[in-house]
Symmetry: C2
Subunit: 322 residues, 2 copies
């Protein structure tokens, strides 16, 4: 499996500028605020969304100053959702570090998420036109709706595959789709190419979330660097579980529901039940299908390093273990 | 004391359009989201920020479609801060209705606040220029900083008057200042007039928050329609308490600190202690001074119904009991 650094090679210098923009935007004249933002830095992960935005720009011909700004914006939106998610999930660990809510309490975590989203919009509205700001805000509207849907369906064992896919489309794929769409748009790509890149980002995002949810069940906490099994403890049904509930016999379903009903469901027991119905494999196959669809969408682009990097990035999503 | 409806008379039709814009922007194709937004409607209060924005526009000559949009934006930002504040304060009641966190849990309340702020930016970026969006986001940055400062200082009995004023400047006055500034700017006022209106909004906001904090101590829950005494229970020092800690003798200070240290401080005991040092009256005098400064700033405007309404609105802030 290629290292991320290899894939990011065509945009390495751009990504450094994105990180500087991110830091500059978040700097405050209040020590208490900077102190909290320091915690955020420790969560810096794969920079997947900035990378998608920059590679999409490159694949369509170029990256500009607007790409740098917007790449920082999408990462800031993503960080805001992570910080608020950790509050909602009562998570303790994120990227090998204690979460903000664990370290500083829920109040600081709620406010830090607000601070991040506010700065994302502030940075976004530094561009000349309102086009990007409007697009970003339209997507954050959708992300919030997805999260609200997820909370609404929590604890319901009758969640359908369609409902699950709609939720992850909103809460995850919408933002990766936006990243690729903005990258193509600000490179001056034509409408058809912009739509193809958006399709790539949407499908890659769907695959990413399906795998993320599967790793919550069969991943290694050490490799993932975060608390796992939270979906189950919070009553969130994900694809492998929905598949297993639909494909097991009555007795299997009863055992699975009993396992899910526990306050802290036993991951080992759950894994065995899901293996009986081949449900983790089925979820990974579903993610692989999204990756194929994403890769197909790239066919419209001329061959090149950036297009290759996008295709390999999509491939990595399914194979990842962390 | 004049009724709000009288003061709002010059902008009554505009305010109705603002409410429609607010509703239209928040409408979702998801029933679960609309259902939550219905709760928000029950919190609709004084519409102080939209009124300040519209009256400032009128006082500078006119209101336009942009005023309607921006008035809905500042109210949406305000509602978002209320919803998140209620999570932070663990409040049960707001404007005679149970809070969102009480009704639907903290998760839904955090997400609903996010939904409101996201829609505020979405609506804001529907305008032609990024000027307003940039200004709104700059202020939401400051509001978040103020809230973070407040959380940081919680439980500290050595908070100074200056620190308290800095916090309320950020968390309350910045948004009322913005409302008046935007109202004047989009009416085409010159730079000096815009600054004068911003000054009015800032000073009126300071007075409003000082009185709000005093009412948390000596207001009637029935008249206010919300849980009172939360500042004290949460360890937030406000102006009357800071004044009393500074002006009482050592024995008085010890009694006051013992009262504050209780898990649920006794409001009646606290009121008696504050009366011994004349501290509630001192806080109200401070608010009255801000109102005078606000009213002075209006001197630059030509006489008229909108200017009068702004002056009377500022006067009402100090006299209000709810």
């Amino acid at each position: 499996m290629p290292a991320l650094a290899d894939l990011y090679e065509p945009i390495a210098a751009d990504l450094q500028r994105v990180c500087r923009t991110f830091e500059d935007e978040l700097f405050s004249d209040l020590p208490v605020v900077n102190d909290l933002c320091d915690q955020i830095r420790r969560f810096r992960g794969k920079l997947l969304r900035p990378a998608l935005l920059l590679l999409s720009g490159r694949a369509c011909g170029r990256t500009t100053d607007e790409h740098i700004t917007l790449a920082a914006v999408v990462e800031m939106v993503h960080m805001a959702t992570l910080v608020h998610d950790d509050v909602l999930d009562e998570a303790d660990m994120r990227r090998r570090s204690p979460t903000i809510n664990r370290l500083r309490g829920n109040e600081a975590a709620v406010l830090l998420g607000d601070y991040l989203i506010s700065h994302a919009f502030h940075l976004c509205s530094s561009l000349d036109s309102t086009h990007a700001a409007r697009a970003v805000a339209a997507i954050t509207n959708i992300v919030c709706e997805g999260e609200l849907q997820q909370v609404h369906h929590r604890g319901r064992h009758d969640l359908s595959v369609e409902q699950y896919l709609e939720i992850i489309h909103r809460k995850t794929a919408a933002l990766t789709g936006l990243s690729c769409m903005l990258g193509a748009t600000f490179a001056g790509a034509d409408r058809v190419t912009v739509r193809a890149l958006e399709r790539f980002g949407l499908d890659a995002g769907m695959a990413f979330q399906i795998i993320d949810d599967a790793l919550d069940i069969d991943g290694s906490e050490e490799q993932m660097g975060k608390t796992l099994g939270r979906d189950l403890a919070e009553g969130k049904l994900t694809l492998p579980v929905i598949h297993s509930l639909q494909h097991g016999d009555r007795e299997h379903r009863a055992r699975l529901q009993a396992c899910l009903a526990a306050e802290e469901p036993d991951r080992a027991v759950l894994r065995r039940l899901l293996e009986e119905t081949g449900s983790l494999a089925a979820a990974r196959a579903s993610a692989a299908a999204y990756v194929r669809s994403a890769t197909d969408a790239l066919g419209i682009l001329p061959p090149g390093a950036a297009r290759d990097a996008l295709a390999r990035l999509a491939g990595m999503i399914v194979d990842r273990r962390s």
